[in-house]
Amino acid sequence: MTLQRRILILVTAVVLLAAVGVIAVVRAGSRADEKDQARPGGPQVTQGTVSLAPGDGGRRMVFRNMAWGPHRDELASVPAGAPDGPRTASGVKCLRFHAAAGTGICLRSDKGGVQESYRAVVLDAGLREVTSRPLAGIPTRARVSPGGHLVAWTVFVGGDSYAGTNFSTRTSLLDLRTGKYDASLEDFTVLMDGKAYRNADVNFWGVTFAADEKTFYATLATGGRTHLVRGDLGERTVTVLRENLECPSLSPDGTRLVFKKRVPGLPEDAPWRLYVLDLASMKETPLAEERSVDDQVVWTDDRTVVYSLPGDFGADLYSVPADGSGAPARVTASALAPAFLG
């Protein structure tokens, strides 16, 4: 083949491939515009005031609104009694969110520069920024303690192209009373079988706080296994309690944990089921949800939990009784990261 012909083929291919690429980008761009248009049949969303203050506006659910339209990804509020009804959007965008006792934690992405960057922002009851910390990776879990004094969040750290597909997590804790900030739970002492345990592969995620504003539970992964740990903020220790337990969530009365667990025999792409663990008897009971849940649940009260499952337009929220009885029910579509305030 002559050089001329080869160059001709190359130029033709470049033109064709460039056209395909440009079309793909333009289509993705216009689809983003489309997402700014509300869908017929979708939830009604209007701009308004969203408050995190207790007693301000009755019992309600505040969450990340994922419904298409101008208020997509904003924190929105609905009455707890009518979760599928019209939404009030706040104008504050968050990827992950949680709130309690007038304190909110919002993990958000800051567009700017070449790379995506993320921040964990502590919000007051009026959704104003109190303080913030830069994040090392992509936000995944966020929690506020019941009293509103402690916040915790987890990010995925990747970005090392030579390390390929190996991800790790970083979990940070911030005490709003003292300002004490623990950038990584990995600096805490891990106690396993009564002995200090150390390993470079230790990863933490999914913190849940107890009412004493000092104790917390979390997931510890090491050696390819996950564990439930109980942490003590004063002692700066975490104690390993149990194996095969991820993303615990403590009930408001502090007696039970709902968590996701890898169940052997389930398909690799859907390995998780929700279980409830009674902390007094350490007895596990499966919940009635039969789909694989990859989320940290929240409790609406002492009897019911709410969690997200992938939906047609982002994630949908479902609820199920926390004692293994009943059946899952859809709470609302296109919503993520709810917090129940009242």
Partner: protein, 420 residues
């Protein structure tokens, strides 16, 4: 103008043993680079743009786009490493056996290109894992045949520079890829499918450049030559020069702390803010990019073995800087520069050195052997370092690694081939 075009003309028949050492009396100006080397460099550049686009957005896609937790991948990584080593040896050997390095490289690049559109279809963690495994198979398959093609296209005394140019182009692609991906994501929010589609187009272009511009020279075996059997391939290690090169690569590889740990140590030592952490590998890559060609050229003149060992001294210096615990603002830059220099002085230079110790008909298999040995040694080192970090803590572990590296460099410096 005479252009050193290797197409159709076999490389000068110099006995491999004499090629091992770069001639000390090199003229000031060299012939232009073989077009094959530039073509292969272009293919690597394009392919790396494509693959790094995907690597850069994959975690974001999994978490923000699909709502999955990507932790499960970590468990697969060890498996990939083992498979990748086997595939690499297979690719090198088959290229030799069939006398068709280009075809093997083409299959490897093609497999990886095929994976990009597949990502559009895979929405579950295992499916994405399978696509990534296929992508790595392609990478493993093509590496040794490609390096064999580079070494066969370049004049023996120019091999260091040829590999340097190739690695610089390769790294340039790795630097451009993430940039392109994030530009697309800025233009189109949640446009992961656009990133994958563009990545697929770029990869297809890479395969096309390979097919059109890399000559598919079929190495005709000499009439009296023994067939390229597996046994003969493994017998390569009986060659004293290759054995020494492989042994050095292995020994030094065993004392090399893996990149992820270097970046973690750097952050620990200097308290670099979390938000910059993901940019540290880019620093290493930038230094690698800038230094690959000059150091490859230096290797041709001053001796490849010397530059290879010098690269490890640069790494040793980086360890030492980390160990001083100095809080100087220049420390991260110095460490990343040394880390990049280490790659620039070792990655292509090792291939240039090894190529001289392997006869042409075994080039792919021979280079694969050295690469695989080094890769497995580094994998073992990373496991060992992780364990040492656990038992002794970060700084003592690094101190031990530094001492071992110093001993290994000294040992390899004594293991010279005769006559130098």
């Amino acid at each position: 103008m005479y252009v050193a075009d290797s197409r159709g003309t076999p490389a000068p028949a110099v006995a491999p043993e004499t090629q091992a050492v770069a001639p000390g009396t090199s003229p000031g100006r060299r012939a232009a680079l073989a077009p094959t080397v530039l073509a292969l460099g272009t293919v690597s550049l394009i392919t790396d743009v494509s693959s790094e686009m995907v690597t850069a957005v994959l975690p974001l896609y999994l978490v923000a786009g699909l709502g999955l937790t990507p932790l499960g991948f970590g468990l697969l990584d060890g498996v990939y490493n083992g498979v990748s080593a086997l595939v690499r040896l297979t690719g090198g050997h088959l290229g030799d056996r069939l006398g068709r390095h280009k075809a093997l490289a083409g299959i490897g690049y093609g497999l990886s290109a095929l994976c990009k559109p597949l990502l559009l279809l895979a929405h579950t963690l295992p499916a994405i894992g399978a696509v990534l495994a296929l992508d790595r198979t392609g990478k493993g398959l093509r590496t040794a045949p490609r390096d064999a093609l580079i070494s066969l296209a370049a004049a023996p005394e120019d091999r260091g520079r040829a590999f340097g140019v190739h690695r610089a182009m390769d790294t340039a692609g790795a630097l451009v890829g993430p940039l392109l991906a994030f530009l697309i994501l800025r233009g189109a929010a949640d446009g992961y499918d656009a990133v994958f589609t563009v990545s697929a187009c770029v990869a297809a272009l890479g395969v096309l450049v390979l097919m059109l511009f890399v000559p598919g020279r079929r190495t005709e075996p000499a009439p009296d030559a023994a067939p390229v059997s597996l046994r003969a391939s493994l017998g390569l290690l009986r060659r004293r020069d290759l054995r020494r090169t492989a042994l050095c690569a292995l020994l030094l590889g065993l004392c090399t702390v893996s990149d992820a740990f270097v970046f973690l140590l750097l952050q620990k030592a200097t308290g670099i803010a979390d938000r910059w952490f993901a940019l540290l590998p880019l620093g290493t890559a930038a230094a690698f990019f800038l230094l690959a060609m000059p150091l490859g050229r230096l290797a041709d003149r001053a001796g490849r073995r010397r530059v290879f060992l010098g690269g490890h001294l640069a790494l040793l210096l980086a360890y030492a800087l980390l160990l001083t615990g100095a809080q100087h603002p220049a420390l991260p830059y110095a460490v990343l520069l040394l880390h990049g220099a280490f790659y620039a002085a070792t990655d292509g230079v090792l291939m240039a050195e090894a190529a001289g110790a392997v006869p042409e008909e075994h080039r792919g298999g021979g280079l694969a052997l050295v690469q695989t040995g080094q890769a497995l040694a580094r994998f073992a080192a990373s496991l060992g370092f992780g364990a040492a970090w656990t038992v002794w803590g970060a700084r003592p572990a690094l101190a031990v690694a530094a001492v071992l590296l110093a001993v290994a460099v000294a040992g390899c410096a004594r293991l010279r081939p005769d006559g130098t």
